[in-house]
Amino acid sequence: MKEIVVLSGKGGTGKTSIVGSFAALSKSKVLADCDVDAADLHLILKPDMKEEHEFWSGQVAVIDGDKCTQCGLCQELCRFGAIDEFKADAVLCEGCGFCSHICPAEAITMKESLAGRWFVSDTPYGKLVHARLGIAQENSGKLVAMVRKEAKELAEKLGVDSVITDGPPGIGCPVISSLSGASLALLVTEPTLSGIHDLERVIGVCDHFGVPVMVCINKHDINDENTSRIEDYCSKKNIDIAARIPYDDVVTEAMIHGEPVVTYDHDNKVSRRIEELWDKVTA
């Protein structure tokens, strides 16, 4: 079974639109939306939710005011500035539990919090595992790991060929969580200086974790000079440019209709390029 994760470094380069189209093109797969704090894939796949699970994680310190002697040791030792006036701030608390171990009055306990929810849904194109991180919650990396694990188990159970994952932007914890051990990372970039800068950093992360990469230049015709720069950079690094997709309003139109672009307008040049991209990715 092949696990393909779609990343970009920079946000808004077109990851979700491409994964939505892959969903329609692929015959045998499970889909996973690992952008758990701003998930959008459901908007084009119209999931019919079959399972909903709570995601409990991220312990936070709770100080029992009756037991607390106001000695201030916890405040002195907390490195995250989470304790003030003998109260723990749930947002700043890192969940390390240091305070609970050292409190002489045993007034501090660590409580789990409901950090989000994850779902298994039916879509017109197959099963989708997705999630929603609670507002302002930590541990997006752990929720990503959970979504991936469930998607892989489901794929094995169903005997499908691949897991296609819509990844988060950036290079930190949730990206590492959605990437490590994957068969291929498809990096969607755009020919802007920001896009190039962020692509180079996400390539660095993929190298660091030993995941093979392919690059797709989206909206390649908005700046030919920058497109050439990406091509030169990739050829030096021996990275395959799997597709160049032109800019077209059809992508937004399809999104508004809540449909993958390849089914919304099959004959459009964007759809053709995405089909070729899918062939390359699965070759």
Binding site: G12, D37, F80, C96, F98, I135, G170, G172, H197
Partner: protein, 288 residues
């Protein structure tokens, strides 16, 4: 005053708005631009700052003195992040997982644990055309952006106008970046993805009790849903930036709106005075 520029969805134009705002109001008040999108910092591409100082950001990770260690396992037991494993006569430290809380070294009964600093990123300070710049950069391969963000924010000088470029999303890095702001400017686009993520960003700002306003970028594509949502929720739409090939062309070359099309400066100045008015009004109503 601290204004954070956030979005929920990535790629909506946070950096375009943050840098244009900074350039446009620098004559009104001294401006400090903080790039808290430490995973993918982009302000420097548009501002081209002269960096005068680079400081490492370090997490303190444990180092075990094998002479003193009795392999009792206390450190592994108290570590909430599974960064230490003790197997009979061997202690393994997984420093990638360490959050640097210091529990292990403090609680080791033998005093066998000291801490060494491991660099996870840098904070750079400098100046760009009269605007003070502070930017964080997470090292490639590192998982935790928050210590770098915290370091960037510790350099904020609130007597200046502080503009914070926030990472996308709604998770801990975002919360860390916008906490303490007087106003949160949410940049979105009028598409279903833009709306979905705007709603999440609004909820995040509400959770932190920060007043917000909206900028609609690439106005003209998509539908009316974002504006209808803002009307319903009573969130002011303070600025619309049209879908314009010239703006996109400038952006692709690393030129921000107010620099490449100076006629926009006035628009950003009035955006700023709108924000000041909203913040003043809120402060007055809190006093009342």
């Amino acid at each position: 005053m601290i204004i954070s520029v956030a979005s929920g969805k990535g790629g909506t134009g946070k950096t375009l708005v943050a840098t244009s705002l900074a350039i446009s109001i620098k004559e009104i008040n001294q401006v400090q631009l903080l790039d808290c999108d430490v995973e993918e910092p982009n302000d420097h591409i548009f501002m081209k700052p002269v960096i005068t100082q680079t400081e490492p950001v370090c997490v303190r990770v444990p180092e075990i003195d094998k002479e003193k260690c009795t392999y009792c396992g206390k450190c592994a037991e108290v570590c909430a992040f599974n960064a230490i494993a003790v197997v009979t006569k061997y202690v393994m430290v997984l420093s990638d997982l360490c959050h640097g809380c210091g529990a292990c070294s403090y609680l080791c009964p033998e005093g066998a644990i000291t801490e060494e600093e491991r660099e996870t990123g840098v904070v750079e300070t400098g100046i760009a055309d009269g605007v003070d710049i502070v930017q964080g950069r997470l090292n490639v391969g590192e998982a935790m952006p928050t210590p770098v963000i915290t370091e960037v924010k510790s350099r904020a000088e609130p007597d200046k106008t502080v503009i914070i470029d926030v990472p996308p999303g709604t998770s801990c890095a975002v919360v860390n970046s916008i906490t303490g702001s007087d106003f949160c400017l949410l940049v979105t686009e009028s598409t279903p993805f833009g709306l979905n993520d705007l709603i999440l960003a609004v909820e995040t700002a509400k959770e932190l009790d920060i007043t917000c306003g909206v900028v609609i970028n690439r106005a003209g594509i998509g539908d009316k849903e974002v504006e209808e949502y803002c009307n319903r929720e009573n969130i002011p739409v303070l600025l619309k930036i049209p879908l314009d090939t010239e703006i996109a062309r400038l952006y692709s070359k690393g030129i921000t709106l107010a620099a490449g099309m100076p006629q926009w400066k006035e628009t950003f100045e009035s955006l700023y005075s709108d924000i000041v008015e909203i913040v003043d009004e809120r402060n007055r109503s809190i006093k009342r």
